[in-house]
Symmetry: C2
Subunit: 391 residues, 2 copies
């Protein structure tokens, strides 16, 4: 190699931040599979298999269930820009960064955005949704199922029922839940649901699995105007994925190899077993953090199994601790965002990263690091091990 | 694995279509590198290296020179949506599918589009650009450097000078040229230039390298409205890549590993040597095709070294030949698009795929397949070998 350019040998990290999570070796191996063309009969078979497996994870029969060619945020944009037109009223629940982002995205689609604001760290109450739906002709109601910025798991069924009662489409962000926490797209009456590959699916970032119910497809088909994004226009992308295979854009082939492989791993594990694993490891982590004397951030009634948020103790500096964890333990955890920047940590246990060894590592590493920073604590790993002993 | 799911073992193809091209083993290996986080100090270094190497390939000093998180078409959309606002006049040269696509993308950005139509297979004449620039207040003038649908290489300098004379920004699609054919962004006065990774850069599809000159950045900074795409909004993405590293969306880490590695390979080979290699192999292929009695499609004065288009002989069926090439030789070549669908083939020799062995394989395989289909021909490989003997 030319002088000055290094070999590609980044550190080997344990990824317990808000995503990406660690990728299973089989999925990494799939990434390096030599490519076939995006119209090759062998690739079309892989596309079909990927769609089938995605339907299982989304628990849906929706025909249009595909990976959009971008990261989770592209999924958010695809969800809004395909069904929202200029002047449409969109109702958005905001109790974290990703609800905020939804408002921004919807406004760029020229929607009239009605916000339902809630407290960061708490779930949203359905009542204000009922009032807003009553008082407005709402085309789309959108909420975040798993708020990555707070670690809150949002109950969806009541809000979904309200949207049905008032003829609104129901749009859900499942970026940090899909594949780690129940997402029952059909059973819960979700019309558009999107996710990202780098969280509980444990794939590298780069694709946004997304599913459209027929109700959403109808809204797309009856638009008065073209979708403002050519790249994410599902009226065309549908033809390539689920229609006559008409070329739209070159599919990100290697990423789809990886997603397909990660979905096979999920299929093998089984959704129920996978959800139970996420709950178990999360419970152990939470018990350990509390034993260390730390206070959890999210409302106890609505805590995510895939991401745990915890207050940073008084007097402890965020960056110093996270830097030390990275340097001494090759361990990544996440910092806070928005109003809780510098005040909470976010510890992800997603997909392949959700295992007992990582829980114990996180607690032991935090124990040592916090003690060195002058915060006396102990007993984290013991509490976690006790939690594992429970059935 | 569960019953019914296959191992991921697609056929090993020689990819001589319009992209993706074959990926160098080192780049495939980079794809399977375990991930670090998108804000990890080690990843930030890889981002910096990638930007530096991209600047070399684009031959630019533009600070904002990055891979956008989508395929080449996302690059096209990013180019337009960041600098075009509602009502802006955009002048677009159309002599192939990708010029057409530009019009569609610009219209979705609510531009007033003025088309300069040209013949498929011929380069665009600067004169109508001069007239249109004189008669309109044109904010952006856009052309395709290497028309993947026709195999035409568009000269850019004269059109660029006209844009400067009339105060228009100059936007160029270099999807099928960057890394295989000269693209002198700064020297030629290009303001926005984008590409894709799966052509002459020989990386998997999934990223769109793009560069913005200060003139384009100014247009972005002085917008009256927000960029309509949140996902591709470079006023925010710039902060993550070239500013204070503020989180925007999770970068497609593995794809960036791969791009970085492919750019290192280009740097090692040297741009001039790489361009010469593309020309040499293309000349040999063209000589061989003509020896087989086939007629080339693109105007001889403006033929692309990275993609050769050739008329399908009378009475020969497109799908039968391409199917046989794939089945018997594991060889992919491309069919025609739009008005020349079923009438031309497109043979790419891009990046890692551009080598003597592939030229000889393509000619021998076409020879055998065409003869079986009743088209008598011979002498393709000999003509190519003679071409290689020339200095």
């Amino acid at each position: 190699m030319s002088e000055g350019y290094n070999e590609l040998k980044p550190a080997v990290r344990t990824l317990l931040g808000p995503g990406p999570s660690n990728v299973h070796p089989r999925v990494l191996q799939a990434m390096s599979t030599p490519l076939v063309g995006h119209l090759d009969p062998e690739f079309l078979k892989i596309m079909d298999e990927t769609m089938g497996l995605l339907r299982s994870v989304f628990q849906t029969r929706n025909r249009l269930t595909i990976p959009a060619s971008g990261t989770g945020s592209a999924g958010m944009e695809a969800a809004f820009c395909n069904i929202v037109e200029e002047g449409d009223t969109v109702l958005i629940g905001v109790n974290g960064l990703f609800g905020e982002r939804m408002c921004d995205v919807a406004e760029r689609c020229r929607a009239r955005v009605v916000r339902i604001d809630g407290e960061w760290g708490k779930a949203l109450d359905p009542d204000p949704f009922a009032r807003a739906l009553r008082g407005n002709k709402v085309k789309v109601t959108a909420v975040v199922h798993a708020e990555t910025s707070t670690g809150v798991l949002q109950p969806l069924v009541e809000i979904s029922k309200l949207t049905k009662a008032y003829g609104s489409l129901f749009l859900v962000d499942a970026v940090t839940s899909l594949g780690g926490v129940e997402v029952e797209t059909d059973e819960w009456g979700i019309d558009v649901c999107y996710s990202g590959t780098q969280k509980c699916l444990s794939c590298p970032p780069g694709l946004a699995p997304i599913t459209f119910h027929e109700r959403a497809m109808e809204a797309l088909q009856h638009r008065a105007s073209k979708v403002q994004s050519w790249y994410l226009d599902f009226s065309m992308i549908e033809r390539y994925w689920a229609g006559d295979r008409f070329y739209h854009h070159t599919a990100p082939i290697s990423m789809i190899y990886a997603l397909c492989e990660s979905l096979r791993l999920i299929d093998k594990e089984g959704l129920e077993a996978r959800f139970a694993r996420h709950r178990k490891n999360s419970d152990a982590l939470k018990a350990g953090l509390e034993a260390l004397g730390l206070k959890l951030f999210a409302d106890p009634a609505h805590r995510l199994p895939s991401l745990t948020s915890v207050w940073i103790p008084e007097g402890i500096e965020d960056a110093a601790v996270r830097g030390q964890l990275l340097r001494e333990f090759d361990l990544e955890i996440g910092g806070g965002l928005g109003p809780v920047k510098g005040r909470v940590w976010r510890i992800g246990l997603m997909g392949h990263s959700s295992n007992q060894a990582n829980v114990l590592l996180a607690l032991a590493a935090l124990d040592q690091t916090l003690n060195r920073q002058g915060y006396a604590c102990s007993g984290g790993t013991e509490a976690a091990l006790n939690e594992y002993k429970k059935i």
